[in-house]
């Protein structure tokens, strides 16, 4: 950790001493996003929540082709998560979470 503080010192001194041996010109940073879920499979359609739900994959092949990401994830108050498409069909029949049987109410939606 001594190294880190050392770097800090140098970093602060950058203004006075621009001729450091290596200077950053450009950085192309790569990150991956995924839904912040506890279980990465939707319990209703058994497809990974990162992929479009089964219905979306089958119905709108054309959209899936071009990577439309409309098939988002929804979290209930119970913190269980599903595809929004799957859940909105589910609640029409049974207004409970398929995993814990608590009454279903939406906590938040993925965006």
């Amino acid at each position: 950790m001594a190294d880190d503080s050392d770097v800090n010192d140098r970093g602060d001194g950058e203004a006075q001493k621009p001729e450091k041996m290596f200077t950053l010109k450009k950085w192309n940073a790569v990150a991956m996003w995924s839904w912040d879920v506890e279980c990465d499979t939707c319990a209703i359609c058994r497809v990974q929540v990162m992929d479009a739900c089964l219905r979306c994959q089958a119905e709108s092949k054309q959209d899936a082709r071009y990577g439309r990401q409309d098939c988002v994830v929804v979290w209930g108050e119970c913190n269980h998560s599903f595809h929004y498409c799957c859940m909105s069909l589910w609640v029409k029949q049974n207004n409970r979470c398929p995993l814990c049987q608590q009454e279903w109410s939406i906590q938040r939606m993925g965006k």
Binding site: T23, L24, W27, A29, W33, M109
Partner: protein, 778 residues
């Protein structure tokens, strides 16, 4: 009839009264002497009267007529038989027959009434219409001819005709009308309404075919012996054609005779020598004698099972020639995927030209080509990809052809900015990509190709090194068209979409931060991608970023959180990269580096001239050991550089030989050397092929291919069983191969293992009565 009964007593119209006046006219007609209009009409009238008024008239007329006809025929017979010589005999016969046959059409006309009366007695008048054609008198005439003259001399006629044909076969010319005339008499003579060609078939056709067969049975072996197989094939072919033409001339056209004759000729000329001819096939294929092969193909196609051995020879040739070619060029093609793919394609084209020139692209030969070519493509003799056999530890790895990997590499060379893609035109690249797809069709394990192709695409997109983004997207659609699994292709398509989304995001990020912190926005590009489409396995590697970079992370994360919710970000630093400026005593250089390389190099910023041991670099960067070794190696031994960025001591042969206390220092003499001259400024790319694949993920790659195959097999077995409920082992195997063919060819062993696993876990069971049948257990 009522009128007839009423006027019955008018006795002056009896047959006996009328016949004497009728007879001379009839005789004139038979002899084709001129008959006046009056006589002709009188005959009608007389027949009419006799039939109408004399109850016994009609049979009497018939009898009398018959006697006269017989008399006439006897005379004709004498005239014919007076000729001894064949041609003269035929000529005479045909002349007589023509005359007689013409009369067969005239003479019956006046006797219509007679026919009505005779028929009226035996059957109802309704049938008359149908029998219109077959007049009784005509039948009488033809039957008489048949029974007398024809039966007597038909053998002589036939023999004479056949002699003429024989003479023609030997090249002598003669009046072909003679033979045709004989045939016509055979055809027209028949009065059997069921089978008009009966007489013709039983006599003339039979004799013709027997004569033909006998002729070639004698000639063909002689010719073969004297001239050899190659010439014999030409002979047989030309004779077949010749005989077919001749048959059209001499045999009745719509009787099927020509076919019978052709079959007979094929049998004598080709079938008999089938094995002798076929023995030449392999050699001819090898020597690429397309014209002769075409001839052989034409001949053998007419023989049952004639093509089969040729197909076999073709397959053998393609396999052995293809493999021999590969083995001979092994040194080059194992090193160079471009050469390999082009060699493969050249072979394919070569074989295709052969099939097209020699066999007219006959589907059976195309299938044989495909089968053999598939074998060449998937052969493991020249190079193999070792896939670890999972789980069952002791078993040996099963080697596979490296072809799919090399195909993917070649694709990458075409799609990336490379010397190859730069020198080709857009159309050339497109046609080469199509070629790749063509070969891919023959690759058994397409899943390997998919994996490598995706890795290459990932690299191109992240490093922004695609030569042509339109072509990239076309390629994805082409892969869809050739039947690559939809979920795979969709993921590729999604990657393109992601890159576009990411560009927008990057734009927004820059705008947001430009005002507040100028420099940060300009020097950072972000790509935030969908983990579902891009990431695979546990390939993420941690690294302790230099502070210069570390500072950006929270900025980006904050920005992203404002845009989206419910998402978490993971940084993939092994994919990220950048440009740094390296200043030393010689000059200033812009260096493209990976983030790992950056992390290593920045360790010297605080102590530019120090020598740092390996161990300390590891502490500073926190890179896993294999990654650090690889990264360092790329800085001390970058292939293209004359002067390296880092120097080290003591010297080692490979990255794994670095010791804990191997010392590294920055080369203060670093410079680019161009044409032997030192450059003070310049740009150099050190990223190379290092990006994206971590040491660990490389090993995992092959392992996960196998793992994925196991899952796919299980999945497919269950899918089949769910549908079929119960299924035999053999059928299960073939359906499995069909379902999985666009991904890989499951080995028998793998199928067996997975069936056992599924049985053990009670997804299915064996039938108690038949252990080769499986039953689905819901």
């Amino acid at each position: 009839m009522a009128v007839a009964a009423m006027l019955k007593d008018k006795g002056q119209l009896m047959f006996e009264d009328k016949w004497p006046s009728m007879r001379p006219i009839i005789l004139k007609l038979l002899q084709q002497e001129p008959v006046t209009q009056n006589e002709w009409q009188d005959l009608f009238y007389s027949v009419h009267l006799v039939c109408l008024w004399d109850e016994k008239g009609p049979p009497k007329v018939k009898e009398a007529l018959k006697d006269d006809i017989m008399d006439f025929i006897k005379q004709a017979q004498q005239r014919v038989l007076s000729h001894q010589e064949d041609q003269a005999l035929l000529k005479a016969y045909i002349a007589e027959w023509r005359k007689f046959f013409t009369q067969c059409n005239y003479l019956p006309t006046p006797f219509r009434q007679l026919e009505t009366s005779l028929a009226g007695k035996t059957s109802s008048s309704v049938q008359k219409k149908a029998q219109n054609d077959e007049s009784i008198v005509r039948k009488l005439m033809l039957d008489s001819w048949n029974q007398s003259i024809f039966c007597d001399i038909k053998q002589r006629l036939q023999d004479s005709a056949m002699k003429l044909v024989h003479a023609e076969r030997n090249g002598e010319a003669f009046d072909s009308l003679l033979v045709i005339g004989v045939r016509e008499s055979y055809v027209n003579l028949c009065s059997n309404p069921e089978d008009k060609l009966q007489i013709y078939r039983e006599n003339f056709e039979k004799a013709y075919i027997e004569a033909t067969e006998a002729f070639y049975k004698m000639k063909a072996p002689q010719y073969l012996q004297a001239n050899g197989v190659q010439n014999y094939m030409k002979y047989a072919d030309s004779k077949l054609r010749e005989e077919e033409q001749r048959a059209h001339k001499y045999l009745e056209s719509c009787s099927g005779s020509v076919q019978v004759l052709t079959d007979c000729c094929v049998n004598v000329l080709v079938s008999t020598f089938k094995s002798t001819i076929l023995a030449e096939c392999a050699g001819m294929i090898k020597a690429n004698e397309t014209e002769r092969l075409q001839l052989m193909f034409k001949l053998m196609d007419r023989v049952p099972d004639g093509i089969q051995p040729m197909l076999h020879d073709l397959e053998e040739h393609i396999m052995s020639a293809g493999l021999a070619d590969m083995v001979a060029a092994a040194d080059v093609i194992t090193q160079d995927s471009e050469k390999y793919v082009e060699r493969l394609l050249e072979l394919f084209k070569q074989f295709s030209v052969l099939v097209s020139k020699a066999f007219n692209d006959d589907p059976r030969f195309l299938t044989a080509r495909d089968k053999a070519y598939r074998h060449v493509v998937n052969d493991t003799q020249v190079f193999r990809l070792e896939l670890p056999a999972k789980q069952t530890g002791g078993l040996k790895a099963q080697p596979e052809s490296k072809c799919p990997e090399l195909l993917a590499n070649y694709c990458d060379m075409l799609l990336r900015k490379t010397p190859l893609s730069k020198k080709l035109t857009s159309d050339e690249i497109e046609s080469k990509l199509k070629d790749v797809l063509l070969v891919l069709k023959y690759v058994q394990n397409k899943d390997v190709f998919m994996r490598y192709h995706k890795a290459h695409l990932t690299r191109r997109l992240i490093l922004d090194t695609s030569a042509d983004s339109e072509k990239e997207e076309n390629m994805v659609e082409w892969l869809r068209e050739v039947g690559m699994p939809a979920d795979y292709v969709n993921k590729l398509a999604r990657m393109f979409q992601d890159i576009k989304v990411s560009e927008d995001l990057n734009q927004q990020f820059k705008e947001t931060y430009r005002s507040s912190r100028g420099s940060i926005a300009d020097s950072i590009n972000i790509k935030i991608l969908n983990a579902g489409a891009w990431a695979r396995g546990s390939e993420r590697v941690t690294v302790s970023l230099p502070l210069e970079l570390e500072d950006y992370i929270p900025e980006v994360e904050d920005f992203y959180k404002k845009k989206h919710s419910g998402r978490k970000l993971q940084w993939y630093h092994h994919m990220s990269n950048g440009t740094i400026t390296f200043s030393n005593a010689v000059g200033r250089f812009d260096v493209d580096v990976t983030t790992f390389q950056m992390a290593v190099l920045f360790a010297w910023n605080q102590r530019p001239l120090e020598r740092i041991p390996y161990e300390n670099l590891r502490l500073a960067t926190e890179l896993p050991d294999p990654e650090l070794r690889r990264t360092l190696w790329s800085l001390v031994a970058f292939p293209k550089l004359k002067r390296q960025v880092l120097q080290y001591s003591p010297e080692v042969q490979s990255p794994k030989d670095f010791e804990e206390n191997t010392m590294f220092w920055v080369n203060q003499e670093f410079a680019l050397v161009k044409n032997g001259k030192l450059q003070r400024r310049g740009k150099i790319n050190l990223v190379g092929r290092l990006q994206l694949s971590t040491e660990r993920s490389k090993e995992e790659d092959n392992e996960s291919i196998v793992q994925l195959r196991i899952l796919r097999v299980q999945e497919a077995i269950i899918k089949i069983l769910k549908m079929r409920k119960h299924i035999s082992n053999a059928q299960l195997q073939s359906e499995l191969v069909d379902i999985l063919k666009n991904m890989f060819l499951p080995s028998k062993k793998m199928i067996k293992e997975q069936v056992e696993w599924l049985i053990e876990h009670k997804y299915m069971r064996r039938d108690e009565d038949d252990i080769n049948t499986f039953i689905y257990m819901a």
